[in-house]
């Protein structure tokens, strides 16, 4: 393990130990927070008992649906916009300011239109993720070296071959950046909107536990989400780094 990894481990362990001490010493009272060892115990119990399985499956399947939609639409739109310069220039201000607009502000509207089912949450998650995919796909396609495209033309590769053998490998690392962001945004969109207003899912369970002062459910669920998103993010970052390293970009 590298020095920075040890450092990181030390910081996390120190923070947990500090919380443990503060909680058991009573500086942080029980109503506010439980000591970490109790949270861990409750989390294990909750997972073993399986009473949250329904919520977990619902959240995961909605996230996956939104993610797939965002990736397919994002990559197709990105690749098409790369061809149509005029349209891309028109949409550019939209992309540049997109993430300044709170997408969650549209959630009430979606609830009114589509009802309180899964669709509004999937749509919010899709809207959050899709622009990151478009922008990164465009960025990746912009950076395909012109000499490679020329080589492909000299070799008389068909458009499909060019895309598969030249464009995709060179644009790959940037597209992976888009995928990584889309995964994060899909989670944020689904869990966030579940938390705001919904009829099920992990976000809903957290907000329900909060309103009923059920800390024994709320904290383990929050920790579960933290662990899941950190693990997924770390895995995708590793993939991105390996791809970039293979291209000699980092």
């Amino acid at each position: 393990m590298s020095r920075s990894a040890w450092y990181r481990l030390l910081v996390v362990a120190g923070a947990i130990a500090l919380l443990e001490v503060l909680c058991t010493a009573g500086v942080i009272d029980r109503i506010t927070m439980q000591p970490p060892h109790l949270i861990a115990r409750d989390l294990v119990r909750m997972l073993v008992s399986g009473r949250m399985n329904g919520a977990i499956v619902k959240t995961l399947s909605n996230t996956l649906l939104a993610l797939v939609l965002a990736l397919v639409v994002g990559i197709v739109v990105g690749a098409s916009l790369h061809r149509f310069r005029a349209l891309r220039d028109t949409l550019d201000p939209l992309f540049a300011t997109y993430y300044a607009v709170p997408v969650f502000a549209f959630y009430p509207f979606f609830i009114v239109v589509f009802g309180l089912g899964d669709l509004p949450q999937v749509l919010i998650a899709f809207m959050l993720g899709v622009v990151a995919v478009i922008v990164n796909t465009l960025n990746g396609l912009d950076r395909v070296p012109a000499v490679l495209m020329k080589t492909a033309r000299i070799m008389r590769l068909s458009p499909a071959d060019t895309a598969l053998r030249v464009t995709l490998p060179s644009a790959g690392p940037y597209i992976v950046t888009g995928i990584k962001l889309a995964v994060a945004y899909a989670f944020i969109g689904v869990i966030g909107s579940e938390f705001i207003m919904s009829r099920g899912g992990i976000g809903y369970e957290i907000s329900y536990a909060y309103t009923s002062f059920d800390n024994a459910t709320m904290y383990p669920l929050i920790v579960l989400i933290l662990l899941a998103s950190v693990a997924i993010n770390a895995a995708l970052s590793g993939w991105e780094r390996r791809l970039l390293a293979r291209r000699g970009l980092r």
């Binding site: 990894a5 540049a96 300011t97 300044a100 989670f187 957290i206 907000s207 929050i222 950190v230």
Partner: protein, 249 residues
Amino acid sequence: MSAARRPGLRNALLLIAALAAIWQGLHWWAGDVALASPLATLRYTAKLVTGESFGMHVFDTLRAFGIAFALSVVIGLLVGFWLGFDRLSGDALEPMIVAVYAIPKLTLYPILLLAFGLGVSAKVAFGVLHGVIPIILFTLAAVRNTRPILIKTGHVLKLSRLQMARWILFPAAVPEIFTGLRVGFALTLIGCLLAEMFASQRGLGYLLMTGIGLHNVELITSVTLLIVVFAASVSVVLLQIDRRLHRRV
């Protein structure tokens, strides 16, 4: 300059016209129960803005946002400079900060509410939690990527750490830091609005939730429009400054 700006302006106008057309289309498709038409929304917005309680809501949101953004900038710059300077801490903590960015932070809101109580401090804390991360990350990258020759010059001139930050690192990093501030601005606003949507009695986020509760479509649409217009126009201005700063370097 004006030659470069005119197509930009034309594109922006075209885009606004297209978005308005889509809005009108959605209105025809979804009907009055779901989405107010652009015209009706503008009329309602005019009434809303001149109404008596509206000023209070806007003031409340802007106050929470102002405090949160100021805190984000101060904390973000300090932590960013520290992590940029100190290689080991930077390497160790940067992935953690990136990971925090990917967490659905709404789920942390109950903890903040328990820790800070109802009211403006929980809102501010939530805004800072969102806004401080991009400021840290951009500042860190900017400080780290300062051209080595500049730093060597500083060493030759025997500058202290503080002088180094003030006279070399900060000026060299300004464009990148500004990008961080621009992103941080947007995220702080999002954080504050989200915080207002729960457990709050005032502010634009609260108005949105009231709109859902009362099923007042015109209110929902108007407030959404106001938030979007505010966020988008400030961000366009910041983007212009950002691009000019980057061009200068």
